[in-house]
Symmetry: C2
Subunit: 465 residues, 2 copies
C-alpha cells in the first residue's frame, strides 16, 4: 500500500473509532439488599448470563430476542480504589464438586462489563454498526441506604424513635440489660465508658439482626464498620427520652453523642450518597421475603418497615432533602423478590403480591417524581426443578433439588401468603421455605435462573435500543 | 446581687471568655518513623509527661522551668473518623506485672491534649492570665511519607529505579524468583495474573523488610494496605527495563501498570499529603539506628537512604513539587535517634554523630527554606540504669535492666560508631545493642525518659512563651 493510501486508511480508522466512541454508552447499576438477600448470587448470575449471551435463556430481553446482542466481556473497573466484585471466585464456588454458595460481600465492590450490540437504528441511518454499552455494577450493603433518614432527623428525634423500637416486647430479652446500663449513665461519663457502651450497642444490633431478623438498624456502619472500627465517629447510641429531658442540654454526655451523630451524618452518610448513590443510573433492591416468613410475624413486619424505608431512598422529588443534597439520577428501580426457586411456580404470583403489600404505599410514589419502580419475582441461580406428585388421588406441585447437606429431596414448600398473616395464624403454624444447595453447574454453560431476562429488559432494554 | 450588676458581671465573664479564646493556640504535631522505631512508646511517654507535668523531670522545657505550666488533660480529638491514639491501652501494658511494650500501631491515629499555661506576657499587659494550647498529635506510618517521590516520577522512572534496587546482591535470594516470574510475563496478561504478581510483590516487600531490614520500599501501602487490600489501585509492580523497551508502549501490560501507578499517586498518595501532612505544624521523625547496626552494613546503608528520603519530605522550597501541590507549613522537624537507653550515656554523642552522617547533606537544606531541622538522641521510656564496673583495674560504663525474658542483667553494649563502619569491620565483628523490658512503672508517677524535655522545648517552646 502506498504511504498516502495508508495515511488515509489510518485517518479513516481513527474517525470511525471516534464516531463509535460517541455512540458508546454507560449505565451505572446499583445492586443492594439487606445482607442475606443474595446480592452475590444475583450479580454472579447476571454477569454469567451476559458473558454467555445465550438467546434461548434470555427470551424476554429484547436485544437478545431480536438477535442484536453480540457479546460481553469483563472490562477494567473505573474506580480503582474499590474492591473488584469477585466474579471468578464466586463462579469457582458454584462449579466445584460439590457446589457451594459463594460467600457474601461485606463492603462496596464494582465490576464493569462491556456489552456489544447492534442498535435498532444506527447514527445517520448506519444500520448495523455495533456499539458498546458499558455496564458498571456497584454492589453495596443495603444497611448504608438505611442510614438516609438520619440526615433528616436531629439526634433527639433519632434517639427517641430508636429507643422506642428497642422496647419492642419481642426484643426485650436481648435489649433489656443494655438499656438498663444506658439509663444508669451519668451526665459526665468518660470517653472510655461511652466507647464501651457504643461497642455493646453494636453487638446488640448484631444480635437483633441474627436472632430477631431485625434489619432496620441504625447506624448501618455499626454492623459493617470497615476501616471506621474504633473511630469516635461510630461511638454514639440512643438515650432514653426520660434521660434526655432530665439531663441539661449542655450535659457533656448529650453534647458528645450529638456531636458524633452529626459527624457520622456529615463524614460517613453524606459521602456515600454523594460519591456512589448519586452517580447511579439504575438500581436493583433484592428482597428475601421467604426467610422473613420462616422467622415469624415480627420479622415480616420488620421487613415491611425496612422495605418502606429502602424505597424512600428513591423518593427524591423536587424539594426533598435527598434531591436537594445529592441530586440522584436513578430513573428505574427494580425491587426483586429473590429465591423464587424455593417455592413452586404457582406461588410466584402470591410472592409478588406479598412484596407489594409489605411495601405498602411506598411502591407508587416514585413514579410521580420521574422514577419508574418495578417489582419482579426471580431466582438468580435456580437450584430446584419443578414437578408434581400424586397425593391421595390429587396432583400436588413440588420442587426437588439437593438439600444444603447434599441429600436429594422433593419438597412441598406450601403456599406463600399474599399478605402478613394474622397473629392467630402464627400461633398455629409457621412457614418453612428451606434453602437448597446450588445446582451442579457445568463450566461451559450459563447458570440456570428464573426471570433474569425480565430484569435485564427493565434495567437495560431502553439503553440498548 | 441586683439584676443590673448581675448582667454586667455576666457580660464581663463572656468578654473574658472571648478574649481567652482569642489567646488559645493550636499545634498539630506529626509523629512518624519506620515501623519499629518506637512511635507508640514516644507518644505514650510524651502524653504521660504532659499529664504529670512534674517540673523536675522536664527541666529543659522552659515553660516548666519557669513554673508557668499549669497542667494538661486529654481533650476530644478533632477528626472523629480517625482511630484515637490508645494512650490508656499503652499505659496499661507498661503498668501491668510484668510490664510489656505496647503493640505498635499500623495506621493513622490521633490524640488531642489541652495544655494550660501562663504566658510570659499576657495580652495588654495582663500578666498571668492562663491560656490553653491545644496539641494534636498525629501518628502515621513513615512508609506513607516514603511514597512522596512517586509524585515526581513517571512509572518508567520508578520502575527502573526499583528494579535496580531489587537486583542488590544482598537481596538476590529473596528477589530472584519473583523477578524471573515478572520477566516471563507476556504483554497481554489477564487482570487475574497481574493481581497475583502484585500480591507476590507485596509479600516480597514484607520479606525484604523483615529479613533484610529494608525500609525504603514502595508502594508504602503494599506494606500497610488497610481498606485498600484487594483494590486494583494497589495492583502494580516494577518491570525489568529490558522488558519495558521490548514491549510496545501501548502494550496492555504496560498500560495497565502505568494507569494504576497514576491512580495510586492521585487517589492514595496525594490525599494523604493534602489532608494530613499539609495540615501539620511540627514533625518528629523517630530513627532507630541501633537495630540497623545490629542487622549489618547493608541495613545501615538502607537506613541512610531512607533517612535522606524522609528528610526530603521537608524540603519544600518555592517551586518544589511538594510545596506547589500541598503548601505544607511544617516549620520545625525533629529527627530523634531513639532507644538511647540501650547504650551508655558516653555513647550518646556518637549516636548523634552517626545519625548526622547517615542523613548526609539532607540535614542542612531545609533551614534554607524556612524549616528548622533539629536532631536529638533520646529515650522515650528509659528501661535501663547507668552504672560502672571495675574490669581488670579500669572502670567500664555499663547499663543494667531486665532482659526481654525478665532476667536482671548488666550489659556493656560497647561503642556506637560515628559513621558507617568499613566493610572489613563487619566481617570481623558486628554490633549487639539488645532490647530491654520496660521499667516497672508505678501508676502514680511519670514514665522515666531521657531528653523528652529537650524535644518538648524544640517542638513547643516558642508556642508557649
Amino acid at each position: 500500500m502506498n504511504p498516502l493510501k495508508h495515511r488515509v486508511k489510518q485517518l479513516g480508522n481513527q474517525l470511525e473509532e471516534i464516531a463509535q466512541r460517541g455512540l458508546d454508552r454507560h449505565v451505572r447499576l446499583g445492586v443492594t439488599g439487606i445482607s442475606g438477600a443474595g446480592k452475590t448470587a444475583f450479580i454472579t448470575s447476571l454477569v454469567n448470563q451476559l458473558l454467555h449471551g445465550e438467546s434461548q435463556l434470555l427470551p424476554a430481553w429484547q436485544v437478545m430476542e431480536q438477535q442484536r446482542f453480540l457479546g460481553a466481556r469483563i472490562a477494567r473497573q473505573p474506580d480503582l480504589t474499590l474492591q473488584p466484585f469477585d466474579y471468578t471466585g464466586a463462579l469457582d464456588c458454584l462449579q466445584q464438586t460439590p457446589p457451594s454458595w459463594p460467600p457474601s460481600t461485606r463492603t462496596i465492590s464494582e465490576i464493569r462489563l462491556a456489552l456489544r450490540y447492534l442498535p435498532e437504528k444506527g447514527l445517520a441511518g448506519q444500520i448495523g454498526r455495533p456499539v458498546t454499552l458499558y455496564l458498571d455494577i456497584i454492589d453495596y450493603p443495603g444497611e448504608w441506604l438505611l442510614d438516609l433518614p438520619l440526615l433528616q432527623q436531629s439526634f433527639d428525634q433519632w434517639s427517641d424513635a430508636i429507643w422506642q423500637q428497642l422496647q419492642r416486647p419481642a426484643w426485650k430479652t436481648q435489649t433489656q440489660s443494655w438499656c438498663a446500663r444506658v439509663a444508669a449513665l451519668s451526665s459526665d461519663e468518660t470517653d472510655g465508658v461511652i466507647a464501651e457502651v457504643a461497642r455493646d450497642y453494636a453487638s446488640l444490633l448484631q444480635t437483633l439482626k441474627r436472632e430477631c431478623g431485625a434489619s432496620l438498624l441504625q447506624p448501618g456502619r455499626a454492623l459493617l464498620p470497615g476501616e471506621l472500627a474504633g473511630a469516635p465517629v461510630l461511638e454514639w447510641f440512643p438515650l432514653p427520652p426520660a434521660m434526655r429531658s432530665s439531663l441539661a442540654e449542655d450535659s457533656p454526655l448529650i453534647q458528645r453523642l450529638t456531636e458524633r451523630y452529626s459527624a457520622y451524618c456529615d463524614q460517613v452518610v453524606k459521602p456515600f450518597f454523594r460519591h456512589y448513590f448519586a452517580r447511579l443510573d439504575r438500581q436493583v433492591v433484592l428482597v428475601d421475603c421467604l426467610t422473613a416468613l420462616n422467622q415469624g410475624r415480627d420479622q415480616v413486619e420488620q421487613l415491611s418497615h425496612t422495605l418502606q424505608a429502602l424505597s424512600h431512598s428513591f423518593h427524591y422529588g423536587p424539594g426533598s432533602t435527598l434531591g436537594r443534597l445529592f441530586r440522584p439520577k436513578i430513573d428505574r428501580v427494580l425491587f426483586a423478590a429473590t429465591k423464587a426457586d424455593h417455592v413452586t411456580v404457582d406461588q410466584h404470583h402470591n410472592l409478588l403480591q406479598l412484596m407489594h403489600n409489605l411495601m405498602k404505599g411506598s411502591r407508587r410514589q416514585p413514579r410521580y417524581f420521574g422514577t419508574r419502580m418495578e417489582t419482579l419475582v426471580l431466582s438468580a441461580i435456580n437450584a430446584t426443578r419443578q414437578g408434581q406428585v400424586e397425593r391421595s388421588g390429587s396432583t400436588v406441585a413440588v420442587i426437588s433439588g439437593q438439600s444444603l447437606d447434599g441429600e436429594s429431596c422433593v419438597r412441598f414448600p406450601g403456599e406463600v401468603p399474599t399478605q402478613l398473616p394474622e397473629r392467630q395464624f402464627w400461633q398455629q403454624q409457621g412457614f418453612r421455605f428451606r434453602p437448597f444447595s446450588p445446582p451442579v453447574c457445568e463450566a461451559g454453560s450459563a447458570l440456570p435462573h428464573m426471570r433474569l431476562d425480565y430484569a435485564l429488559q427493565f434495567l437495560l432494554g431502553d439503553k440498548m435500543r
